[in-house]
C-alpha cells in the first residue's frame, strides 16, 4: 500500500466507527481526538479494526504513534506496505 492508500484506509476505519463525524477536513498533524469526538473505546477499536482487516499488530506502547493521522501513516507504512 502507498502512503495515500494507507491514509484513506485509516479514514475508512475511523468512518466505520464514528459514521456521523465529518472527516473531510481532518488535519494530518493535529491529534485526531482533538478534532472529532473519539473516546478511548473508539480508539482501541481503530487498532482492533486494523488487526481484523490487515493483520496489523500495534503493541500498547506504540498507541501514541497513532494519535495523529500523519503519525499513523508513518507508523503503519512499514507494516502495511505489502498489504
Amino acid at each position: 500500500m502507498t502512503r495515500e492508500e494507507i491514509q484513506s484506509t485509516i479514514l475508512d476505519v475511523i468512518a466505520g466507527i464514528v459514521p456521523d463525524e465529518d472527516l473531510s477536513n481532518l488535519k494530518g498533524d493535529v491529534r485526531i481526538r482533538d478534532q472529532i469526538e473519539l473516546d478511548s473505546m473508539d480508539f482501541l477499536d481503530i487498532i482492533m479494526e486494523l488487526r481484523k482487516r490487515y493483520g496489523v499488530e500495534v503493541p500498547e506502547e506504540d498507541y501514541m504513534e497513532l494519535s495523529t493521522l500523519d503519525g499513523s501513516v508513518v507508523y503503519l507504512e512499514p507494516l502495511m506496505k505489502d498489504s
Binding site: 466505520g16 466507527i17 464514528v18 459514521p19 456521523d20 469526538e37 473516546d39 473505546m41 473508539d42 482501541l44 477499536d45 482492533m48 488487526r51 481484523k52
Partner: protein, 459 residues
Amino acid sequence: MHYDAIIIGAGMSGLAAGIRLAYFDKKVCILEKHSRVGGLNSFYERSGHNFDVGLHAMTNFVPKDVKSAPLPKLLRQLRLRVEAFDLSQQKISVISFPEKSLRFTNEFDFFVHEVEENFPAQIDNFQRLLKTIFEYDELSLKARPVSSRQVVSSFISDPLLIEMLFCPLMYYGSAQEEDMDLAQFVIMFKSIFCEGFARPHAGVRQILNVLVNKYKECGGELRTQCGVQTLKTAGSRVKSVLLENGDEIVADNIMSSAGYLETMRLLSDLDTSRLKSSAGQLSFMECILVLDREPVEMGHDTAITFYNNSDKFFYGRPDSLIDTSSGVICCPNNFKFPNPLPEGIIRITNMANFDLWNRLDGQEYKTQKTRCLDAALKEVVKLVPDFRDSIVFTDVFTPKTIHKYTGHINGAPYGTPDKVKDGRTHLDNLFICGTDQGFLGIVGAMLSGISMANLHVLM
C-alpha cells in the same frame, strides 16, 4: 467443537458480548436455555396480544448529536446506527407521592425546575448533589461500595425529596434492599433523569431482532433450547461445558450472563466458601392490561408513573405476596410514536415475595393472581383515570414466572446485591456479564457485555 468463547444466555448482555467477539473474528457460540432470546428482557404472546417482559422504557435516551453518553457509545461498539432501534421518546413521567409529585421528561432542565417548584428550600442542596453526581466516575470497575442514602442525605435535608428521588431509581434497577451503592445510584440517576426514556414501536422485539441479526451477520452461532448442565472444571479453569442434551463443548473463555450464583451452581466442583455474593431478594409481580382504547383517550398521557402512597418509601421484599403501597405504572402508548400502537396497554409492577408465591400451586396460585391483580388495580386507579371497565385482556406474571423463565434465584431480576464489577470469578477463564456485573437496565446490560468482552477476551 472448540470455540474461542462460549456465552451463556442470549439476553441483552450476552448478545452484545457476542456481537463484539464475532465481529472481531472470534469463534463464538451463545447458549440460550429457552426457545427465544431476551432473558430478562424478552417477549411473549397470549391470545394474539404481543407483550414485553422487562422493558417498560429504554433508559439513557440522548439526542443524536450527543456522542459521549452510554447509548451512542454502545451503538458505536456494536457498529449499529441509532435508527436501528426505532426509538420514540416518552411524553412525560411522574414520581407521585401523596403530598407532592415530580414530573420529568427527557429534558433534564424540566426536572430541575420541578424540584425547584416543589422543594424551593432544597434547590441549592440539589444543585450540590448534582455536582457530585456529575463528577462521579460510575463506570469505574474498582470503586468501593458506598451508601447512596448516606451521600444523598448529606446534601438533601428534606426526607420527602430523598424518598422521591430514590423511588424510580430503585425500582428500575436496585438489587439491594433499602439502599443502593453510589455507583448504581449515579448510573440510574443519569440514565433516567439526565438522559431519559424512549421505546421502540415494536417494543423489546425490535432491539432483540437488531442484536440477533447483527450477531449472525458477524458469523456468531446461536443455539436456543440449549441449557447448560455443568461447567466442568480442571484446576483453575473451566475445561468444558456439558449441555443438557448431553453434548460437551470446549472453549478458551466462558462468559456467563446467567447470574453470579446461578453460574457458580453450574460448576462441577462448587466450593461454597468461594462464593463472594449473596442471593438477591427483590422480585416483582407484573399485571399487563389490554384496553379497548388508548389510555390518552381517558386522560392518561403519562409514560411511567412511579407511585408511593405514603411519605416513606420502602424498597424491599414484602411480607405478603405483593406490596401495593408503591409501584410502577407503565403505559407503552404514551411515547411520541409516529403511528399509534395496535392497542392500549397499561402495565403495573409491584414488589412481591418469591417464597410466598413459590409455595402456591394450581388453583390457589391462580386465585391469588386474580386477588393481587384486583388489589394492584384498586391502588392504581387512585392515581390514573379508572380504566377498569375498558380492560379486554389481562395477564399476570409473578416471581415464580420470572424464576421459571430466567433461572434467576428468587425470581430476582436485578440479581445479587453484591455485584462483580470486574466480571472475574475464581476461575481464570470464566467471566460474569449482565445483571450481576452491575451495569443496569437494557443499555447497561449491553454495555456490560461489551466491556466484559473487550476486557477479558479481546484485549
